[in-house]
């Protein structure tokens, strides 16, 4: 199936100065294309050019086989709706009034809405679950509610393409999720094409069909989320030097505390993660082990531990590995045991615990973690 909206040799920029050249991106109906990339890389510039708010410096934007430059205002407004970051002024307007502005391209000379138009407005409001505050003044509602209503506004414009610029910024996690959920439903039920920019990589990864990476004033890579979201690539795209990004979980970890480890953490099955993070927060360098590479704790330990004893996935540690761990325990002089359950697979960790216990090296995690009250005093 051909792209519904696409760019051909597009060059965008301000005041005749090219910012990004030769952009070739496109999205089909029923799909979401997401632009990711660092701040100031030019995502908004691309979006503004695609919606004809910025003059194109070269190339074309094509919607449904026709260049947008050749469309009349009215034609374009029936095909394309937007949700932008600009704060909208809506003095003395109720939420319903704001949504109703989406019907603009369909009303007559004086812009009076018909009964059918109002039905579509109410339908759009229901779609974003905003019935409860539809009559409230637009200026009094929260940011999350506003974004939803602007989405409803776009819906009732009955477009085939919706362009959204960072629709989830400033929203709390619940509203981020809800907004994207509504967007996804809309794309499926109305078979629309969506182009948007997102800052939240974890969400971009989950909601997008296609991802375009913009960095250093160029389109660096395009592809499916699976192709784009690789640890190393995301690190280079955003120039992450301190800390790390886990592509599978879409989670960020801070930088590991440098220096020789002061404590050995016996983790496993997720029990280690809170302790690793707490030690990192308190600036304590630590060693971790023994973890299989498919253990839940492993990605975080890899990011945060200064020394890590691991074995390949689904394998049991050999004697040499256990010896290495014991050597580390001696070096650290203290041990935190996080996991409480031991079985056949982590028998080696049980041995390590007994070894530490015999040496009187076991400490509670609390010893290392500054309590809030203590910090105050």
């Amino acid at each position: 199936m051909a792209y519904y909206i696409s760019t051909e040799h597009l060059t965008v920029g301000y005041d005749g100065v090219p910012l990004i050249e030769n952009i070739e991106i496109g999205v089909r109906r029923g799909e979401i294309l997401t632009l990711i990339g660092p701040n100031g890389s030019g995502k908004s510039t691309i979006l503004k050019s695609m919606i004809r708010q910025l003059r194109l410096l070269a190339g074309t934007v094509v919607i449904d086989g026709r260049s947008i430059a050749q469309m009349t205002e009215r034609e374009l407004s029936r095909k394309l709706a937007i949700v932008m970051t600009e704060r909208i002024r809506a003095e003395l307007m109720s939420c319903r009034d704001v949504v109703a502005t989406g019907r603009y391209p369909y009303t007559g000379r004086l812009g009076i809405l018909s009964q059918a138009d109002w039905q579509k407005v109410d339908e759009a409001i229901r779609m974003v679950h905003a019935e409860d505050y539809a009559e409230s003044p637009f200026q009094r509602i929260s940011d999350g509610q506003r974004q939803r209503l602007l989405l409803a506004r776009a819906i009732c414009q009955e477009p085939e393409v919706v362009v959204l610029d960072e629709p989830t910024s400033f929203l709390d996690i619940r509203h981020k999720l809800e907004l994207l959920e509504v967007l996804k439903t809309m794309v499926r039920s109305r078979h629309m094409a969506v182009v948007m920019s997102l800052h939240e990589l974890d969400l971009a990864q989950k909601v997008s069909d296609q991802v375009v990476c913009v960095a250093d004033h160029r389109v660096d890579r395009c592809g499916t989320p699976e192709e784009i979201f690789q640890d190393d690539y995301i690190r280079t795209l955003y120039g992450i030097e301190q800390g790390s990004y886990n592509a599978l979980f879409g989670s960020l970890e801070m930088r590991a505390v440098p220096g020789t480890p002061k404590v050995f953490v016996i983790g496993g099955g997720g029990s280690g993660i809170p302790v690793y993070r707490a030690l990192q927060r308190n600036g304590i360098s630590f060693a971790a082990g023994i973890l299989q590479e498919n253990d839940l704790d492993w990605p975080v330990a890899k990011a945060l531990a200064s020394e890590l004893v691991t074995v390949p996935a689904y394998q049991l540690p050999e004697g040499s590995v256990i010896e290495k761990a014991k050597a580390l325990i001696r070096e650290c002089g203290s041990v935190i045991v996080c996991t409480r359950s031991f079985g056949a697979v982590n028998e080696a960790n049980l041995k390590l615990r007994d070894y530490a216990e015999a040496g009187g090296l076991i400490r509670e995690a609390d010893v290392y973690i500054r309590k809030e009250k203590g910090a105050d005093a």
Partner: protein
Amino acid sequence: MERHTHIRLWAGFISLAAALIILILWNINAGSVHLSVKEIIGILFSRTGENAAIVWNIRLPRIISALLLGGALALSGFLLQTFFSNPIAGPFILGISSGAKLVLSLTLIGFLSRGIAVGSFTLILAAFLGASMSMGFVLAISLKAKQMSLLIIGGVMIGYICSAITDFVVTFADDANIVNLHHWSLGSFSGMSWENVGVMTAVVIPALICTFLLSKPISAYQLGEVYARNMGVNIRVFRILLILLSSVLSACVTAFAGPISFVGVAVPHLIRSIFKTAKPLIMVPACFLGGAVFCLFCDLLARTVVSPAELSISSVTAVFGAPVVILVMLRRQKEHV
């Protein structure tokens, strides 16, 4: 909710219309010659009675002028507030009236000193030139300064410069012209002829209709330029129309009545708080009516308070209009905290 809004709208329009009729009658009645209601009705419908000349030749043209020009001022203010999305924009504050006044004075002195009579349309054209000139400066400032207050300060300064040059020019004019110019440059609805009324009707009413027909794009523009463009508004054409209409309206007012302060700022705000809406479909006719009521009321005071002498209309409109501006600014301050 729907019903509630409808009632408010009707109530608003009916009270405005009632106020307008009362003020018209009161204005006919008030003055050095007092008339009873019966007399007024007699004069209006049969043109008979000993005071018919006073009513028909002096009071009625003045009333109609105040009505039309007041409406024009309020409308011009509403358009400017929309254009700059600035709640305290208005033709007087932004120096547009003063620009019109400057070019008008130059034209008048130029023509009169050569002994040529000046027609109404020439006056309007001169005022329009001056208004556009000031508007050009204000637009240039608005491109550089995004802040609301900077735009206003810039406008006020332009106003001062234009007034200073006008004073300078008037100082060197013939004695005979000075009296007229001085009187006019303070702002007044006095001395209007039926010919004047005809010309201002020919300018103001078409401008009112055009503005009303622009209600739809204005409503889109109220959400901001980006959304308006996405809704299919041709922003360039729309902005030019907005500027032209507000310039024509304020130029027409200045040409006939001189610069009149604060009506353009205050009336749209009063109307918004009465009608509790900013919808242009309501705002355009309501502002026009409101401006008419406001100016008729102020002109009544200007004529009667220190009778037989007259106050300049601007000093009366300022007394009622300026507090509204202060209130608006304070309220916005509160909203933005």
